[in-house]
């Protein structure tokens, strides 16, 4: 697995570092932390990079893990003007800082180049969801990325993770991501299916998949349960779930959620969420 953490110089980015570091270490992911900043917003880029590196190592701890922990953090400058710090243990850890004007474009470009499985980013509280002064950047990333996206709006400890499922096309990586989020926060997991007039909504035996997922998490000793909601109450239910904890949406091509969350609802969901949103692809 490869995780791309998108960061800037604001407090919401620092606040997600604990979750991000634990997620990277627990999934043994090749990790790239990309700090994208406007030149005018940052006085000492090298210091910022040092702080992120130190915090990352602080949160993963000194126990045996996938990353090599260096004695000193030596930063180099690439020919393109980026600041770079890199280590290779069992897994790779890359930290780089780029001074650019269009952060969304850069994050999506890097995710594509790295073939990332997950992009993690924080954003400001409230409905603006600002990132580097750009309103709606997290939504843009969630909408346009080809991989899963985790948006941490506030560093909270969700008691419950509500995951919505309406398809059987669920990757092992996405199951593992949910597993890690539940473990990190010691949360309960609610797997929500859709109920229509003719029974459970979804293609390719989604009922079977729900049971498999439920059994998979139960066998891992996690508190997981399934529940169903009616199609017409989905908006209200999702809004309530974002108040209670993290919301995870499986949004594959075949997904009904993908259809209804493809436009305004995804934006609304990110705007109104009080904690975190995980878009699984």
């Amino acid at each position: 697995m490869r995780i791309l953490g998108a960061l800037d110089g604001n407090s919401y980015s620092f606040n997600i570092l604990k979750d991000l570091a634990l997620l990277c270490a627990n999934t043994w992911a090749d990790t790239t932390l990309l700090i994208v900043c406007n030149e005018k917003d940052i006085s000492d880029p090298e210091k910022l990079l040092q702080e992120y590196a130190k915090s990352f190592y602080h949160f993963i701890g000194e126990k045996d893990g996938p990353y090599k922990i260096p004695k000193t953090i030596k930063i180099t400058k690439t020919s393109g003007g980026e600041l770079l710090f890199k280590t290779k243990g069992i897994k790779e850890f890359v930290l780089k800082l780029a001074l650019i004007k269009d952060p969304a474009k850069e994050i999506l470009k890097q995710a594509k180049e790295l073939d990332a499985d997950l992009i993690v980013l924080g954003c400001s509280k409230g409905m603006d969801c600002e990132w580097q002064g750009v309103v709606g950047l997290p939504y843009k990333i969630a909408r346009d990325a080809n991989c899963s996206v985790l948006i941490i709006k506030e560093s909270t400890d969700p008691r419950q993770i509500t995951s919505f499922l309406d398809q059987s096309n669920v990757s092992q990586e996405s199951l593992e991501l949910i597993n890690q989020m539940v473990t990190i926060h010691d949360a309960g997991l609610k797997i929500v299916g859709l109920m229509g007039d003719k029974g459970v909504v979804g293609k390719d035996n989604v009922e079977r998949k729900m049971l498999e997922i439920l059994a998979y998490y139960n066998e891992k000793g996690m508190k997981a349960w399934i529940t169903f909601i009616e199609k017409k109450e989905i908006e209200e239910y999702v809004a309530r779930a974002t108040n209670e904890g993290m919301v995870a949406l499986w949004m594959g091509k075949k997904s009904f959620f993908s259809k209804i969350f493809s436009t305004n609802l995804l934006l609304k969901l990110i705007e109104h969420a009080k904690s975190s949103i995980l878009i699984l692809r």
Binding site: E207, L211, K223, T227, F228
Partner: protein, 264 residues
């Protein structure tokens, strides 16, 4: 040991119920029989004599195959008493008939948890649930826990719960926690005791211990039925006396994704 009748069909609710019974069988002394009812369309029911008998044989074989498929798919480890009982006819009538004739202690079936409470109330008000002569375990999820939550107060009768749990869990590893609930319009459940709760908890403790059922913990909680429903998710199941009408307690049971033991 409790004699139980498990209703199975080829759907998600039954798959969950089957797996849950498999889990419970590792903790409790259950003698479980399986029942499946095939309800043919009126148009399908044809003929008399050998024509009728051949048609019935075909239907029974198909029902048998359904249950065999389910058992094979779910790969359960527990053993069942006797071959599955395959019946033809009205589901409610056939189940009630079997429960009366077989003198069962417990009827078990799966029920998918739906956020709309009406769905659960319809079940409580159904002829089947009202007329079942024993306690009912309504399985909604695979709750892995060794603790049972027992609701007290709010019109819940303790005696049927004690009688059912006596048969079901006595000398097992399972523990009992008492929950006294009072409504309060607040967002999160609050743990606050009051005189009424203390008295009821103490009384219930005594009733349970007289039957050799020890209470490991007791909670006096206040909040909305939704909050109580969420609180109960950590239990293997929640036991309550059978409440055929809408109430705060049945609302909480409807809201909870947990399995419910309705004691009669």
């Amino acid at each position: 040991m409790a004699k139980a009748l498990l209703y199975l069909d080829e759907n998600l609710a039954s798959s969950i119920a089957l797996r849950y019974v498999d889990y419970l069988s590792s903790l409790l002394y259950l003698e479980t029989f399986i029942i499946h009812v095939v309800e043919p369309d009126e148009k399908e029911q044809a003929g008399t004599g050998w024509v009728r008998r051949s048609w019935e044989t075909g239907i029974l074989e198909s029902g048998q195959a359904t249950i065999s498929r389910l058992l094979k798919t779910e790969k359960v480890k527990c053993t069942f008493s006797g071959p599955p009982k395959i019946k033809i006819g009205d589901r409610e009538r056939e189940i009630l008939q079997e429960l009366r004739v077989g003198a069962y202690d417990l009827f078990i079936e799966g029920h998918l948890p739906i956020s709309k409470s009406e769905n659960f109330f319809e079940l409580l008000e159904s002829d089947l649930y009202k007329n079942v002569p024993c306690s009912i375990l309504c399985v909604k999820n695979l709750s892995v826990s060794k603790t049972i939550g027992v609701l007290i107060g709010n019109g819940v009768q303790t005696n049927p719960i004690i009688l059912t749990l006596d048969k079901l869990i006595k000398n097992s590893e399972m523990e009992i926690e008492l929950i006294h609930y009072k409504f309060k319009d607040v967002d999160t459940l609050e743990f606050e005791s009051n005189k009424e709760a203390e008295i009821l908890i103490e009384e219930s403790r005594n009733f349970f211990s007289q039957k050799g059922l020890n209470i490991s913990n007791a909670h006096a909680v206040t909040g909305t039925p939704e909050a109580l429903g969420d609180f109960m998710i950590n239990y293997a199941f929640v036991a309550c006396s059978f409440l055929p009408r809408k109430s705060l307690i049945s609302e909480a049971l409807a809201q909870s994704p947990n399995s419910v033991l309705l004691c009669k």
